[in-house]
């Protein structure tokens, strides 16, 4: 039995029945990591010994018949911008290459409480800024389906790890598509929850009004399971929603008859790769056979989303990244005698090209004389984008779109053209700007053998409906495959 190819809920069933031990599960994944990591570069730090020790602890508890957590013995990979106490956290940056946080992120605390075993920290675009995972100080993550291609970013390590069987589930973060885009490129399920559903405490801020921790899993049930564990009110995050979430796993099995799905015209424009468009429409077709009603809708301000997003995100980032100055932690340039030099040289040497570009842009749009022309305009455009969605959700329950206009592109292909790279996020940033939950699910392959992702966007706190539709689609799609 290839344990590393099983989703977490299957592993949990085996563990629960005593058919495998947590130690076996963890070793199986660690073994897989050894096999493929040389090609993928999905991890920045691995906790092999610690995770085996923890697995044995879980096995002991189970043997004694004691209560264990909901994820007891399940390995999980964590994006390297989420704090795990006492473990190095780099954010994919030279700036933090030696930083050790003295506290656990709220999500990490919850995972530990449920017995999950953190096997390592995954590679990412530096400070989560990127769409291809080529902006890591620790080198790019390769796509498991084609090592010449990108994994997608910025949670590329988490997506590749789950896709390649290095971990059954992983946490990522999604500011403008950083969970969904790599999920679609690597053929896994990726969910960005409603803004405020999952605590951001312990997630290193990129753009605070857009960041959400998300999950990457092999299937929809795992996605629901992991979200249930990490979601919920946190008094340490002022933007955390104080509302009880329904039992997602139960809720999503309720069926979808009569569900109204909107197809926003702007997401099926001529620029979209025909193979991608075709795959998504075929999936929608299959869903109509299951009783879903489909209609066309419009989100007229979609074309303004990228401009709006990059102004707001970079403005916030320029402020959020001001703390990396070499004074209290992290990298410090050597041989400076005056504070100003220390700051400027530390930041210039510690940050990579993309991060600096964004800090420059963010500083620019906030600076005196430009605030109104850029930042304030973007905040207003954000209102329009949000209203587009509000209106669409009066007419339908969920929206379905391609996750990305193209499948995974070649390494280096867009590195010299930042704007072209930014446009990769065209279909994912609107959900962040509107704070909406959004999921990417694999919906077939291109002729070249690259995964294609379908995005399902829901209204605020519409996670259970999204997971419901995704789960039905997953069943339909697997039936289709079995039939072939």
């Amino acid at each position: 039995m290839k344990l590393h190819l099983l989703p977490a809920h299957s592993l949990l069933a085996l563990l629960g029945r005593g058919e495998v031990s947590a130690e076996e599960v963890v070793s199986s994944f660690l073994h897989r990591v050894e096999e493929v990591e040389g090609d993928l570069n999905a991890f920045i730090t691995l906790f092999s010994q610690d995770s085996l020790t923890q697995a044995r602890e879980v096995d002991k508890l189970r043997a004694k018949g004691e209560r264990v957590g909901r994820l007891a013995g399940v390995p999980i990979a964590i994006k390297d911008n989420i704090c795990v106490q006492g473990k190095r956290m780099t954010c994919g940056s030279r700036m933090l290459s030696n930083f050790v946080p003295p506290y656990d992120a709220t999500v990490v605390r919850r995972l530990k409480e449920e017995g999950a075993i953190i096997i390592g920290k995954t590679n990412m675009d530096e400070f989560a800024m990127g769409s291809s995972n080529e902006n890591s100080f620790f080198g790019p993550v390769k796509n498991p389906f084609d090592s010449q291609r990108v994994s997608g970013g910025s949670s590329g390590g988490s997506a590749a790890a789950v896709s390649a069987g290095e971990a059954p589930m992983a946490l990522g973060s999604d500011t403008g598509g950083s969970v969904r885009l790599p999920a679609s490129f690597c053929g896994v399920v990726g969910l960005k929850p409603t803004y405020g559903l999952v605590s951001r405490f312990g997630l290193v801020a990129f753009a605070s009004s857009l960041d959400q921790i998300g999950v990457l899993t092999r299937d929809v049930e795992d996605c629901a399971l992991l979200l249930e564990v990490i979601a919920g009110y946190d008094p340490q995050d002022s933007t955390s929603i104080d509302q009880h979430l329904p039992d997602l796993v139960l809720e999503m099995k309720k069926g979808i008859k009569g569900l109204r799905v909107g197809l926003p015209e702007e997401y099926f424009s001529p620029e979209v790769d025909p193979q991608v468009k075709e795959a998504v429409l075929r999936a929608v077709n299959q869903l109509t056979l299951e009783g879903v009603e489909v209609e066309r809708v419009n989100l007229p301000h979609t074309t303004s989303a990228i401009a709006t997003y990059y102004i707001i995100a970079d403005a916030e980032a320029s402020s959020n990244l001001a703390r990396y100055d070499g004074a209290r932690y992290g990298y410090r340039a050597q041989g400076t005698r005056v504070l100003l030099d220390m700051y400027s040289r530390t930041r210039n040497e510690g940050f990579g090209d993309e991060v600096k570009r964004r800090i420059m842009l963010g500083t620019y749009v906030l600076s005196s004389g430009y605030y109104d022309a850029y930042y304030l305009q973007a905040q207003k455009a954000r209102t329009l984008i949000r209203k587009d969605f509000e209106e669409a959700f009066c007419r339908c329950d969920l929206l379905v779109t391609p996750t990305s206009p193209t499948p995974a592109f070649k390494l280096g292909e867009k590195m010299d053209d930042p704007l072209l790279m930014y446009l990769s996020d065209s279909f994912t940033v609107p959900a962040n700007l509107a704070g909406l939950p959004s999921l990417s699910i694999p919906c077939g392959m291109t002729r070249e053998g690259l995964p294609i992702g379908m995005q399902i966007i829901g209204p605020p706190l519409g996670e259970s409906q999204i997971l419901g539709l995704a789960s039905i689609y997953e069943q339909v799609a697997s039936k289709g495959r079995d039939g072939l």
């Binding site: 933090l96 003295p102 506290y103 992120a105 753009a207 002022s238 402020s319 004074a327 500083t363």
Partner: protein
């Protein structure tokens, strides 16, 4: 041309909350460096702020006490700049929508004239840490950073440029400091830096309404420093204007060595604070109900109390100003009156004796142990003729020193007044025998010597003789 100074003040007031504005670290003063910090106030990656409710309520107290309008919705912003005592690279403050706006503070100028200084806004923000600059060292100078203070809640109180002299500025500061102490929202301690001040000043031709170019001086932590800096700056601007050179808008800093206010920043240091809404904190909506709750919890304010003391107790303005200088003293005064309703006597005693004893010892209210009931006990001993007023002062000094009850002091030290006519009579006899010459002069018409004889008798009885009795018996003996 005759110029008039136009002065505005920004005061930073550290609040007396137990924990910091955005995290649970203690605000206690004087701890070892960096021992009252956590991931949040150190600005480590990944942390988030959560607002301390009490800090908001303390801000509301001051807003209500200065007649400011509390905004129905206020919000926080980030002020971005780099400095080693600012770990996040930005300060969380209020910018677009402060806590409160448009109030004022009435100040009493010397000579009893009153003036209202308008307050433009009151906002909540976090304090920065402390940097110690060491000039020497192997690398040619180093800066040491302590972040214990970082994140302590501050109120920034911004006045309109309503003051016209360094004195007015000082009195405004004294009044504001008294008020925050009175409201028990700050210790107002200048030495600890709980009350710091930025001043801005410009000159304009007297009678003009347009403001001149202003200069600023930041972080002054003594009232004297404010007056000194303002005096210096006013005369500097004067000279510039008279010689036809303009004033340049800049930030100055008092330089003790040069005894002058010198430019604080270097030119190449660009600054542009790039304020924008703090995404990590939600807006605050302060409703009527909450405001009323805070209003009801406010003590009677110093101005109200001064007014009432004059009307109700018939005291003089000068005395009232002293009695209402702190809330403890005013409460103490009224505590005494509840047991002993003779306002003027009590007021006199407190102003002359009590404050003298405290000043001599340089004591604060926390060291003063005499309860109102004990002070009143002392008054009763005088009234009953057990001790003279002179002895009472000695007894009081003992009370302050030891905290003992007056009756006990009087009994233990044998300070009871001599009431026995025979004893007094024999003391008078002795004095008159010793003072034969003066007695003759008295008899010859120098009647002023009577008081001298009384004094000698008191001396002989070591002050314990009842003065009225001495008077009467002496008169009898002299045959008047």
């Amino acid at each position: 041309m005759d110029y008039e100074p136009v002065i505005g003040l920004e005061v930073h007031i550290q609040l007396l909350t137990s924990s910091k504005l955005f995290c649970g670290c203690s605000t206690q003063f004087g701890a070892p460096p960096n021992s009252q910090t956590c991931a949040i106030c150190l600005g480590l990656p990944g942390v988030l702020p959560v607002v301390n409710r009490r800090a908001v309520e303390y801000g509301m107290r001051l807003a209500l006490a200065t007649g400011c309008r509390i905004l129905p919705e206020c919000s926080f912003s980030r002020k971005n700049y780099f400095y080693p005592d600012l770990p996040k690279g930005y300060q969380i403050t209020q910018y677009e929508k402060p806590l409160a706006k448009d109030g004022g503070l009435e100040i009493c100028l010397d000579g009893g004239r009153k003036k209202r200084v308008r307050i433009e806004r009151i906002q909540l923000e976090e304090d920065a840490g402390k940097s110690l600059h060491l000039e020497e060292g192997p690398t040619g100078g180093e800066t040491f950073i302590d972040l214990n203070r970082c994140g302590i809640p501050l109120l920034e109180v911004v006045s309109y440029p309503d003051m016209r002299s360094p004195e007015e500025a000082r009195i405004y500061l004294e009044t504001l400091r008294q008020l925050v102490q009175w409201l028990e929202i700050s210790d107002g301690d200048l030495e600890k830096g709980s009350f710091r001040c930025d001043v801005n000043v410009s000159l304009r031709p007297r009678g003009a309404t347009k403001l001149g170019t202003r200069t600023e001086a930041k972080n002054l932590n003594s009232f004297k420093g404010v007056e000194r800096t303002l005096r210096f700056e006013i005369s500097r601007q004067h000279a510039l204007l008279r010689s036809g050179k303009g004033v340049r808008q800049e930030t100055l800093q008092w330089d003790a060595r040069a005894q002058a206010a010198l430019p604080a920043r270097k030119k190449e240091e660009a600054y542009d604070y790039r304020y924008f809404p703090e995404p990590d904190l939600v807006h605050l909506q302060i409703g009527k109900k909450w405001i009323e709750q805070i209003r009801e919890s406010l003590p009677e304010l110093p101005s109200q109390r001064r007014e009432r003391f004059m009307n109700q107790y018939g005291l003089r303005a000068d005395d009232v100003r002293i009695l209402v200088s702190t809330r403890q003293l005013a409460d103490y005064y009224e505590g005494c009156l509840r047991l002993y309703n003779r306002p003027k006597i009590v007021a006199n005693w407190i102003i002359r004796e009590l404050l003298r004893e405290l000043n001599q010892r340089r004591w604060g209210p926390e060291e003063f142990k005499v309860r109102p009931s004990d002070l009143v006990g002392l008054f009763r001993l005088i009234d009953q003729g057990v001790i003279s007023e002179r002895i009472a002062k000695e007894v009081f000094a003992q009370m302050v020193e030891t905290g003992e009850k007056p009756k006990r002091i009087v009994e233990e030290r044998g300070m009871v007044q001599v009431q026995d006519e025979r004893e007094i009579s024999s003391a008078i006899g002795e004095v008159l025998r010793e003072e034969k010459e003066n007695l003759a002069k008295y008899r010859a018409g120098k009647i002023g010597l009577f008081h001298y004889f009384v004094g000698q008798v008191m001396k002989k009885t070591r002050g314990k003789a009842n003065p009225q009795l001495v008077n009467r018996v002496l008169k009898e003996k002299l045959g008047d």
